[in-house]
């Protein structure tokens, strides 16, 4: 069977044995969502490239750590990318983060809708963004600062001059509402 027909979990078994072709299929399947997340977090094309490179090489060298019982390969990869991006953010100052922003990059590097899979992923992203956008601003803001900005609840409380308990409450309420809205989408998002 062609590698491209294998499920991610089966590909990861081959990656664990050092199969570079299987790794390349995994990369090609998830590179866009990984790069998109890294860029969303770092706001810099160069930093996003570094993050994705570190994350995928880490995946290649530690494939044995993937445990299918704990979630999908995509979730695992995005977790690695997220952690690497937070490391990258913490290495830079807030000022640097904003200065490094690549204005207009979304237009220049927007993913082309080449295949049905990519169209479906773009639709999925649009629907998920819609779910996030329906949250009250104060809830979506704390969630975005925490997840994409890598800030702790106390840092966010300080930035927004809001009590810590309120920040925690908004995070919880926002996620509860988002979870409720995801409905059928969650199967695709989480698996």
């Amino acid at each position: 069977m062609a590698l491209t027909n294998l499920a991610d979990e089966d590909l990861m078994q081959l990656v664990r044995r050092g199969d570079a072709d299987a790794f390349e299929v995994v990369y090609e399947r998830h590179a866009t969502v990984a790069f998109s997340l890294a860029h969303r977090m770092t706001q810099s094309r160069n930093a996003a490239e570094d993050v994705v490179q570190e994350a995928f090489l880490s995946l290649w060298r530690s494939g044995a750590r993937y445990d299918r019982a704990r979630g999908s390969v995509r979730t695992w990869i995005l977790g690695i990318v997220h952690n690497r991006a937070i490391d990258s953010l913490r290495r830079s100052t807030v000022h640097d983060r904003r200065r490094a922003s690549d204005e207009g990059i979304e237009e220049r590097f927007a993913a082309a809708e080449r295949t049905d899979v990519e169209v479906a992923r773009r639709d999925e992203a649009r629907e998920l963004r819609g779910a996030l956008a329906t949250l009250p601003d104060e809830q979506s803001r704390v969630i975005e600062l925490a997840y994409f900005g890598g800030y702790s609840h106390s840092e966010i409380a300080s930035m927004l001059e809001t009590p810590i308990g309120t920040v925690k409450g908004r995070m919880r309420l926002g996620l509860q509402k988002m979870r409720g809205q995801l409905g059928g989408l969650t199967a695709g998002a989480g698996t």
């Binding site: 790794f23 990369y27 969502v33 998109s36 995005l78 992923r121 925490a146 919880r172 509860q176």
Partner: protein
């Protein structure tokens, strides 16, 4: 009202927004609290959807090439290491060169780190490049401002070092070739590489250069070619 007063932390927990000591304490709390465990499980579904809300952006093709080059080099690593070890033992030479343990020999690890843009001068040089029989051959490079050298050891092992070389065209990699006297067409090696952002790369010439008239580098499709199809950017005469 929530049956557990600590449930206020569930959102911050799944977002990774608790301070490290709080995170550890809440993880411990989850062991004994069914309510919080259920809530964390529910909220995690929403948190795991967050990365997918990012506007889709295509990564650059060169990123693919850089990563895959390193991975393929490392996949070849064990065989390469074994082959080198056998050759060195047969030659009876001990130059203090240490092969890395596990999947990636030193050269491959160095190549990987260079691809990551990490300066590795100290790691790849030292006694190895400065061995008593080592010599350096300047390469002809068809790119203005770029340079290349071939470090040839006394046992014929050779390492190519390039600087200022532009990245290969999108979807392609550089491939190293060897040509012996009388051969019309150079023979392919499995040495495929790209360059760092600064245009540097260090790559071993598989099989060494004993009896080799010319070492060449051309850009080729990313899995390499059997005969050169792209532009030859570098030529070195090791003899």
């Amino acid at each position: 009202m929530s049956p557990c007063p600590r449930a206020i932390d569930t959102g911050a927990y799944v977002l990774g927004a608790l301070e490290p000591d709080e995170h550890a304490a809440f993880t411990e709390h989850l062991r004994g609290c069914d309510h919080c465990r259920r809530e964390v499980s529910e909220l995690r579904v929403a948190a795991e959807a967050l990365p997918l809300t990012a506007e889709p952006l295509d990564p650059p093709a060169q990123l693919h090439d850089r990563i895959i080059e390193v991975v393929r080099a490392e996949a070849r690593g064990s065989d390469e290491a074994a082959r080198r070890g056998r050759r060195r033992r047969a030659a009876g030479r001990a130059r203090g060169r240490r092969l890395a343990v596990g999947r990636a020999p030193l050269a491959v690890a160095a190549c990987a780190l260079l691809a990551l843009g990490v300066a590795l001068g100290a790691l790849v040089s030292g006694g190895e490049d400065g061995g008593p029989g080592a010599r350096t051959v300047q390469a002809d490079v068809a790119v203005p401002a770029a340079s290349g050298t071939l470090r040839v050891q006394d046992d014929g092992d050779a390492r190519l070092v390039v600087r200022g070389l532009p990245a290969p065209p999108a979807g392609r990699v550089y491939q190293v070739w060897r040509q012996r006297p009388g051969e019309d067409v150079p023979r392919p090696t499995d040495a495929l590489f790209s360059v760092s952002r600064e245009g540097t790369a260090t790559v071993d010439v598989p099989g060494g250069v004993d009896g080799v008239e010319r070492v060449l580098v051309s850009d080729e499709p990313r899995r390499g070619s059997r005969v050169p199809t792209g532009r030859v950017v570098l030529t070195a005469a090791p003899a």
